[in-house]
């Protein structure tokens, strides 16, 4: 006689360790779990609200500079180390974990115009108003030793910016012209000029490391190839570009921070049309830096705020401001893509979270799963009006708010005027120019 028995495989219900969660058999029959859309909608709504509740991005303020912070630099090897140069020629090295200044160097007389670290992280370069380029050791000098630069290069003109090559012992400075230097030489390898105006900044491409871009006061962005003696091409915009930043994940894409309150993301192969015009600032954009993931960038503006833009969005997803933060001159996204630093006029370096509501510290797997799920839900329902409204809602300082209103009116007026002009002129004589193309004056090769 056959006896039927219940038999169970212990693997199905016994935990391997007591830290594992109990396995709960579930029935995924959709009829048992109705109203999936409304339920998920509610979850998304709650997640969005919670996101706003926990949005506390400001982490720390690093104070110690005695003048406005003019430039910032990341350490290529250490996440905790940040270098900053101030308007009084002082360079400070900060430890972020301790939130303390670990070293102070009186590097220059007058402004420290630019600062950059060597790719190995052993030394850094500064340029100042005193027409010198100085190389400093990253490590502090021994007891009793004086703070002295490794090398000092005396230039003929004022240098306004400096950037180091990502692999080679070469760096580039900008001023009247773009100079490419070998670390071992006191004279530049080559100097490149296109036009006669001062150049604000120069940046090496982190991927195609021989490429570099510069932006000049004569409203143009010029691209160079280090291996050639002449510049590649340039694009002339409506207004001056303050600085550019290359996308660390896409070699040919860079973003330019412009004086016309906008940022322009360009594909260097097709400079006649920017990929995206990022508008939200209400004053000149002074600095821009990409997240190491290449998905977002942060911009610092004269309107006392920093904004975070997704690369493919024209509007910012986040705006950071504090009452005491004045014109933000420089901004950097840390190498682990979690934090943002900004140096401003009022002598402080501020540390922000890149994601305002992100929980700091180690997450358990369940927390992580919940976070991911909530993130996905927010993404899924981001177009729903309530969720959109809550997610987009930000409190802004009155100055910025009123300026936004004002600029909206101005923009509307311009648009109306254009429409009117088109209406009252010969058809086709006033062509419709897209927003992207509007700001590009010319591309020169």
């Amino acid at each position: 006689m056959k006896v039927k028995m219940l038999s169970r495989n212990p693997d199905n219900y016994v935990r391997e360790t007591k830290l594992d969660l109990q396995r709960v058999p579930r029935n995924y029959d959709p009829t048992l779990h109705p109203f999936e859309v409304p339920r998920e909608y509610i979850r998304a709504l709650n997640a969005t609200k919670l996101e706003r509740v926990f949005a506390k991005p400001f982490l720390a303020s690093l104070d110690g500079h005695r003048d406005g912070v003019n430039c910032l630099a990341k350490h290529p090897k250490s996440l905790a180390t940040v270098l900053s140069g101030a308007c009084d020629g002082e360079v400070r090295i900060w430890n972020l974990t301790k939130r303390k200044c670990i070293r102070t160097i009186q590097a220059h007389e007058g402004f420290v115009r630019g600062i950059c670290t060597r790719f190995c992280g052993t030394s850094f370069f500064t340029v100042g108003d005193d027409k010198t380029v100085k190389q400093w050791k990253m490590d502090a000098p021994g007891n009793g030793e004086e703070e002295e630069p490794l090398h000092t290069i005396l230039g003929k003109t004022v240098y306004t910016g400096i950037d180091h090559h990502w692999k080679d012992p070469a760096f580039a400075t900008c001023g009247q012209q773009v100079d490419i230097w070998d670390e071992q030489r006191t004279n530049p390898i080559c100097s490149m000029t296109w036009g006669f105006d001062s150049i604000n900044s120069v940046k090496f491409n982190p991927i195609e490391t021989f490429l570099l871009g510069s932006c000049a006061s004569d409203r143009n962005i010029v691209l160079y190839d280090m291996r050639q003696a002449t510049p590649l091409k340039k694009v002339i915009l409506d207004m001056r570009t303050n600085t550019i930043c290359w996308n660390p994940m896409e070699a040919f894409i860079f973003t330019a921070a412009n004086e016309d309150y906008n940022l322009y993301t360009f594909d260097m192969r097709a400079l006649d049309t920017p990929l995206m015009v990022h508008m939200d600032h209400v004053s000149a954009v002074l600095d821009v830096d990409y997240s190491p993931t290449g998905k977002e960038f942060v911009s610092a503006s004269f309107d006392k705020s920093i904004r975070i833009f997704p690369v493919d969005r024209s509007r910012s997803r986040e705006v950071y401001h504090t009452k005491r933060m004045q014109h933000v001159i420089c901004v950097k996204w840390t190498s682990d893509s979690k934090y943002i630093m900004c140096g401003s006029d009022e002598m402080n370096i501020r540390l922000w979270k890149a994601n305002a509501s992100e929980k700091l510290g180690v997450l358990t797997s369940r927390e992580k799963a919940a976070k991911d799920y909530n993130q996905k839900l927010k993404e899924k329902f981001q177009y729903h009006p309530h969720i959109k409204r809550i997610a987009r809602h930000r409190h802004l300082p009155k100055s910025i708010y009123s300026q936004i209103q004002e600029q909206r009116i101005m923009k509307e007026a311009r648009r109306r005027k254009e429409v009117n002009r088109r209406k009252h002129s010969k058809p086709g004589s006033v062509p419709i120019v897209s927003e992207k193309k509007k700001h590009i004056v010319a591309v020169v090769k």
Binding site: P206, M249, P292, D336, A369, Y373, L377, Y383, P385
Partner: protein, 716 residues
């Protein structure tokens, strides 16, 4: 000894014979029985004579083997050599009477031999001498018992007086009784105080149930008492009917009627009451029917025809009535079969019993009727020569009787109804009865003429004999149906008469369950089912009598359409340019002039859908949560809807799917420096990257996610 015994037997026999010859022979004994008795006695005599010679011994009765059934009906009488007749056993009077005389004689003889007994009491009490007188006086004064040395009444009283213990016990008993009584009183008061209607309802129901049970028991044990009880119940019912309690016109009912629209319970209560009312009012009809039935029963009892046996099983309002009637009929059937000329006395008795209320008038009428019937029967028997035609003639006679009975019953009914003063609507019932009368009477001659009927009747008779008991249980409607089925040629006529009855039967069916009938010749199941369906329909109809859903819906739709129509704007100002005031209306011309007609709106979506109301109004509360414009990357709303409708939560997806669905596009490791991408990182020969894992989405083709995971080791 033997000789003496034989002589005694002879003596007794001779005496018995003498007794047989006596003229005051009881009426119950029949003549042929008497004959058979004579023969037997003769045999006995012969036997006794034979046994005198001594050789042939009297054979004693003995039981050789055990009989299977040991009962009074199976008593073996082997010894006597003849069959034992039950009647012999049941007639102790004859033998005892015959023996009594012998015994008396013997006693007399014996008494003469014995000495005189002590003085009789009378003799003793008779005082002769003065001394005796004196003594008697003394004795009488003290009430001293003379005959026995017994106790005087005083002594008895003293004896009767209780002992202390007894007294205590008695007192305790009394106390207990009093306590119990007070307890019961308190309980009753408490129960009376309970305000819960439900509780009282339940109690009432329980009581009713209990009463019914008791009645059932009583019916089994003591039918006459049960009948009395029944009478009481009937009276209570009548009182309830009289009270007009269930007309839904009381205060409570009115309040319920208001609430019924919203409250399901109230509706139910109302319906219950209505049903009760219906039941009560139904009984009015049924009673009249039962009276009719009573008539038919009378017919049955009077007419020994099996035709009526079918109708006899009247399923009246209460089954007890039927039960009480039927045994009578059963009893009657037997003697009728056995002896064709029943005694009128017995019938009379049965009649009176059946009728419950032996009114003098009724009785006399019945007597008269009985006599006439008996006469007719006798004449029939005497006249009857042809055996074949006897049935028919009997039938014809029965038909005559039937008609007579009808007339009689009608009169009776009238009398009855008038006597019952409580019945308000008696005239109505009478009318009904009268109305119904003619149809069956018309039916009868037709029935007579049919030759097939005899067959059916015979069949029915057989059936009736076989399943007499069964049929009694059958509800009336089935039988009726059967009846009509068997005589399909009667139907057109019968239907006329039966229409009313059928209606009532339907109602009966509503209240009583139909038991399944197996032994019927003609299959009636289909009919039954049909009936059931009808009943179901009717029940549903009754339950939802108030609400016409379709009409309500149509009305609702009409209202919705009206409400959504654009309205005309009336801009007339009364009193402007003309006289105004109370009762004055602006002129038609003016109204026409200032009435702005609303433009015709677009046709309604549900214009051609009769069963649908589409609300075309935009729900602003819902709209606040709805996406108004198709978001940018999507090119068709269906794409967007699909993305929204695909759930991503673990409630709807397996763990793995959930993980896959919720993985962010870019995952970074905290505390790791993310290096810029290198030319070597791109492509398939990439090794894993520790600091970042990116699922890249193709920005140009947003509809499909082009997943490409870039994993490369970060070079230091």
């Amino acid at each position: 000894m033997k000789a003496i015994r034989a002589a005694e037997g002879l003596l007794t026999l001779s005496q018995q014979d003498e007794l047989v010859d006596l003229p005051n022979y009881p009426l119950s004994a029949s003549e042929d029985e008497g004959d058979s008795d004579g023969e037997r006695k003769h045999e006995k005599l012969l036997e006794a004579i034979n046994s005198l010679d001594g050789k042939n011994r009297y054979k004693l009765a003995e039981r050789s083997e055990a009989s299977l059934k040991v009962s009074e009906f199976n008593v073996s009488s082997e010894g006597s050599g003849e069959k034992l007749i039950l009647a012999d056993l049941l007639e102790p009077v004859k033998t005892s009477s015959s023996l009594a005389t012998v015994k008396k004689q013997l006693n007399r003889v014996k008494s003469k031999k014995t000495l005189e007994l002590p003085l009789n009491k009378e003799e003793v009490e008779r005082a002769r001498t003065p001394l005796e007188h004196e003594i008697f006086n003394l004795l009488h004064k003290n009430k001293q018992p003379v005959t026995d040395p017994l106790l005087t009444p005083m002594e008895k009283a003293s004896l009767k007086a209780m002992s202390l213990e007894e007294a205590k016990m008695r007192r305790a008993e009394l106390q207990r009784a009093r306590a119990l009584q007070s307890y019961y009183e308190a309980r009753a008061r408490r129960e009376k105080k309970i305000k819960s209607k439900k509780y009282h309802k339940i109690v009432k129901k329980g009581k009713a149930k209990k009463a019914l049970k008791e009645f059932e028991q009583l019916r089994n044990i003591n039918p006459t008492a049960a009948l009395e009880e029944l009478e009481k119940i009937e009276k209570a019912r009548m009182m309830e009917r009289m009270s007009l309690k269930h007309q839904n016109s009381g205060k409570w009912a009115k309040s319920k009627a208001i609430m019924a629209k919203y409250d399901l319970e109230a509706r139910q209560a109302m319906q219950e009451q209505l049903a009760k009312n219906k039941e009560l009012t139904q009984k009015l009809q049924v009673v009249s029917e039962s009276e009719e039935e009573g008539n038919t029963e009378e017919e049955e009892t009077l007419v020994p025809d099996v035709v009526n046996e079918v109708q006899m099983d009247a399923n009246g309002p209460n089954p007890w009535m039927l039960r009480s009637c039927n045994p009578d009929a059963k009893e009657e059937e037997k003697p009728m079969d056995s002896e064709h000329l029943p005694e009128p006395v017995a019938h009379q008795f049965s009649e009176s019993e059946e009728d419950e209320r032996p009114v003098a008038e009724e009785e006399t009428l019945l007597k008269e009727f009985e006599e006439r019937r008996a006469l007719r029967k006798r004449s029939e028997f005497s006249q009857d020569a042809e055996p074949m035609g006897s049935r028919e003639t009997q039938d014809s006679s029965s038909q005559e009787v039937l008609s007579e009975v009808r007339a009689l019953a009608q009169r009776l009914n009238k009398g009855n109804l008038q006597s019952r003063k409580q019945r308000v609507t008696s005239t109505g019932t009478v009318l009904q009865v009268q109305r119904e009368e003619p149809a069956p009477e018309e039916e009868e001659p037709l029935l007579l003429q049919r030759p097939e009927r005899v067959q059916t009747l015979e069949k029915l008779e057989k059936l009736g004999k076989e399943e007499c008991s069964q049929k009694k249980e059958l509800p009336r409607p089935i039988l009726q149906r059967e009846w009509t089925e068997r005589n399909p040629n009667n139907q057109p006529d019968a239907s006329k008469g039966k229409k009313k009855e059928q209606m009532i039967n339907l109602q009966n069916l509503l209240t009583t369950k139909t038991p399944s009938v197996k032994s019927l010749e003609v299959p009636t199941i289909e009919e039954l089912e049909d009936e059931e369906a009808k009943v179901q329909k009717q029940m549903i109809k009754e339950a939802f009598a108030g609400d016409d859903v379709i009409r309500d819906f149509l009305k609702e739709k009409r209202e919705a359409v009206e409400a959504n129509k654009p309205k005309d704007v009336d801009l007339t100002l009364p009193g402007w340019g003309e006289w105004g005031g109370l009762g004055l209306k602006p002129s038609a011309k003016k109204r026409r002039r200032f009435l702005i007609k609303a433009p015709e709106g677009p046709p309604r979506k549900d214009k051609n859908l009769p069963n649908v109301i589409i609300n075309e109004k935009r729900n602003i509360h819902a709209a606040a949560h709805q996406v108004r414009v198709l978001p940018y990357p999507f090119t068709h709303h269906q794409q967007f809807e699909r993305t929204i409708q695909t759930p991503i939560g673990s409630t709807w997806n397996t763990q793995r799917a959930f993980q896959k669905l919720t993985t962010p596009k870019v995952v970074t490791k905290p505390g790791h420096i993310i290096k810029p991408i290198k030319a070597e990182d791109v492509g398939y020969r990439s090794s894993s990257r520790s600091d970042i894992s990116v699922i890249q989405s193709n920005q140009k083709r947003l509809s499909g996610h082009h997943k490409k995971q870039l994993k490369k080791s970060s070079t230091d």
